[in-house]
Each structure stands twice: as C-alpha cells, then as structure tokens.
C-alpha cells in the first residue's frame, strides 16, 4: 500500500466510524423497531471481544484471497443470524468461548497458514455462529430488528477486514504480510489475556493492585 492509498483507506475508515458514532445520537426511533435495530447494530461494535475475533476471521479469509473466500460473504451473515436466533432462545454464557475464538482466529492469522478452503469456511462459519449466539443472548427487545442490526454490523466488520487484508497483501510491499501477521498475534494475545480474565475477574481478590501510573520515572 503506498502512502496515498493508506490515506484513502484511513479516511474511509474514519468516515465509517463517524457515521456509526453519529447514528448513536440520532437513534430515536422514527420507525417502529428502529431502536432495537440500532442497539443490535451497535452491540457487536462496542465490545472488543466481539469485534476483534470478527476482524481476525476477516483477515484470515483475506490471507486466503477474495476469490477463495467469496462464498463467506453469504455464509457468514447466515451463520451469524442463525446463531443469534439460537442465542436469543438459550442466552448462553460465552465469555470464555468468545476469548477462545480471538485466540484461534488471531493465532491462525499470525501463523499465516494456507488453510484448506473447507477448513477456512468451517472456522469462519463457526466463529460467526458463536458470536451470533452471544449477541443474540443479549436481546431484550424486538427480536428481528435487533438480529438484523447485529448481523449487518458484524458482516460489515468481517467483510471490511476481509477486503482490506486481501488488498494489502496484493501490494508489493515486503513488510505488509508481517504487519497482517503481527495484528493477528495482537488479537491472539488479547484472546489469551481475556481467557485468563474470564476465569479470574469474577473473584474480587483477583485484581492485584490499583493502576499506578508513574509518569516516566
């Protein structure tokens, strides 16, 4: 990616974030169901344990290429929405499982395995369904608009990571594949730490010390 293209990409991302942020302000339910739609839309975006694994599976697909992964653009939203329906019924506790998906998907990106296509599809569909379930478990409002919003947001995150990664890896820059793998390892590291937190944070004795930030000495 050259610097102009980086500019363009960062502007698009910035604009997209500004749009989503703006929708928070104006979500006042002009149409019945729109409140549920917008809370569904924001739900996967406001929790790192959802957004990071979704980015990771997008990057994993992007490492494999747009052509190999194109069917995922259909399979992913179906898996996510089905998972959300199941999650709405069962309301499962999936904190540790979500962390596990960050570890697995991020770790695979870091390893830069050339996954068999079938395995890639299985992983993306499974991670999509798991996050659909944990998002669906949080529904307190109208079912259909919430799932539509959550599926839309999750699919946009997945598809954007997919596209950007594919695009970045088709550039000739030598460091780009490493940058992609490094980001994968950040997400995997997040998964490891969040797994530990999922088991520890419940007990009040766990937080060892209050944060003591000593500026530079």
């Amino acid at each position: 990616m050259n610097s102009r293209q980086v500019h363009v990409v960062s502007r698009i991302v910035t604009g997209a974030i500004a749009l989503v942020a703006a929708s928070q302000v104006y979500a006042h339910g002009a149409t019945p169901g729109s409140n549920a739609f917008f809370s569904g839309l924001l739900h996967p975006l406001t929790a790192l344990e959802h957004i990071l694994p979704l980015i990771a599976i997008g990057m994993l697909a992007g490492q494999r290429g747009l052509i190999a992964g194109q069917g995922l653009l259909v399979a992913f939203p179906i898996a996510f929405a089905s998972g959300a329906l199941i999650g709405a019924a069962l309301a499962p506790e999936l904190s540790a499982v979500n962390a596990g998906t960050a570890l697995v998907a991020g770790g695979l990106v870091a390893l830069a395995f050339a996954l068999p296509r079938t395995l890639l599809y299985v992983i993306v569909v499974a991670v999509g369904a798991i996050h659909g379930m944990s998002n669906g478990g949080a529904i307190g409002q109208a079912l259909a608009p919430f799932i539509a919003g959550a599926t839309l947001a999750a699919t946009l995150v997945f598809a954007y990571a997919f596209g950007v990664t594919h695009y970045a890896l088709t550039r000739t820059t030598t460091w780009m594949p490493v940058a992609v793998r490094a980001i994968g390892s950040w997400i995997a590291a997040f998964g490891i730490l969040t797994l530990a937190l999922a088991f520890v944070v419940q007990s009040p004795t766990a937080s060892v010390a209050a944060t003591s930030i000593s500026p530079w000495v």
């Binding site: 991302v13 490094a182 530990a196 766990a206 000593s214 530079w216």
Partner: protein, 209 residues
C-alpha cells in the same frame, strides 16, 4: 531489510492512522454492555501503561531496533511472537502468580537489549528469540499485574498489547536508518543510551532504595 523511503513513509502514516482510529474508538461514549465496565477507559489506561513506564518504552523500542539490526528473519519473527509470549506473562500477572524481581527484569531487559544493539551482537535466531521471550514474560507480567479496578480489564489488555506493538514498530522504523552510511554507528550509540537508561532504572533496586 530493503525498505524504500516511500514504504517508510507509509509505515509512519499507518501508525498515525492507527493512533487516530484508537482516539476515535476511545472517544466513543462507553456503551453499557451487559457485564462490562468502562471500555474506552480500559483502552486508554492499557494503551498508556507501557508508554508511561519509560523502562518499558526503551526496552520495547530496543526490541524493534535489534530486530531491524539483525534483519531477516528476526525482523519478521519478533513482532509476531512477542505479543503472544507477553500475553503468557500477562496471564501470570493476572493470576497473581508471584514472580520475584519483575521490575529488575524489566530494567535488565533494557540493559541487555541495549548492549546487544551497542555491540551489534548477532546470535542465532533461537538465542535472540529466547532472550526476547524471557523479557516479554517480565513486561507482560508487569502490565497484567496492574489491572485497572475502575475500567474494563478486557480492553485494558488489548490496549497494552497494541501500545507494545506500536513501540516495536517505532523501533523497527528507527532501525531502518542502518542503510545509511552513518546509520549503523548511530544505532549502536542508541543501544548504549538504552542500556544506560536500564542501568538508571536498576540502580534503586541495587541500593535498596
């Protein structure tokens, strides 16, 4: 590593846009997610934790510079494996497993890595990887042991991982000056300075102060 001027500028701009994104993410009003605390606050505290500890800053920049000095394949391996090993150290810190002398380990990491750069030591990849991995455990432990009580521990975790990765990137960026005729010498001076900072942080532990 053969990095052109254009690519180096692109790296710098990538870092800048990532910082911008993080700022935007942080400026999001923290949405009350079921069972979660202050997400944006956790990101900020986590991101600042390595940056406000000058011993962390110099050691992590040293990892990047050393990687650039060693060239391939170290420069590829370090930024990918470091976060994972650091996370294991972070887990030890979160669990409260007692590790003696973490602060000494962090200071020692600056001394050793700075010395490696200053003397331009080129051990086999396994050895350099092991040296960096041992220090990654100490750094991760130091971050993991100081979970914020008021903000989201989950986003804190990602914050310190990203900040550490950015410090590596800055180190690698600095390391690219080795292509210029005076570059390698300047890098070695930088390594000596890093080692001195490490000594400065180690002294209070030695004198018992």
């Amino acid at each position: 590593m053969n990095v052109s001027m254009r690519e180096r500028r692109a790296v710098a701009e990538l870092i800048a846009s990532a910082a911008l994104l993080l700022t935007l993410a942080v400026s999001f009003p923290a949405q009350a997610h079921v069972g979660q605390d202050d997400i944006a606050g956790g990101l900020v505290v986590g991101f600042l934790h390595p940056i406000f500890g000058f011993d962390h800053v110099v050691a992590m920049v040293a990892v990047g510079i050393w990687g650039a000095q060693l060239g391939r394949p170290a420069i590829w391996v370090l930024p990918v494996t470091f976060p994972l090993v650091m996370a294991l150290g972070g887990v030890l810190g979160i669990l409260g497993v007692p590790i003696p002398g973490v602060e000494i380990g962090v200071a020692a990491s600056a001394i050793v890595l700075g010395a490696m750069i200053a003397f331009a030591v080129r051990p086999p990849l396994v050895v350099s990887g092991l040296i960096v991995a041992v220090f990654a455990i100490f750094h991760g432990y130091a971050h993991g042991a100081e979970l914020p009580e008021s903000a989201s521990a989950v986003s804190y975790a990602f914050g310190f991982v990203v900040a550490t990765g950015m410090l590596h990137a800055i180190g690698i960026l600095i390391g690219t000056i080795k292509r210029w005729s005076w570059g390698p010498a300047l890098l070695r001076v930088a390594g000596a300075l890093i080692a001195l900072v490490g000594v400065w942080f180690l002294l209070p532990h030695l004198t018992g102060g």
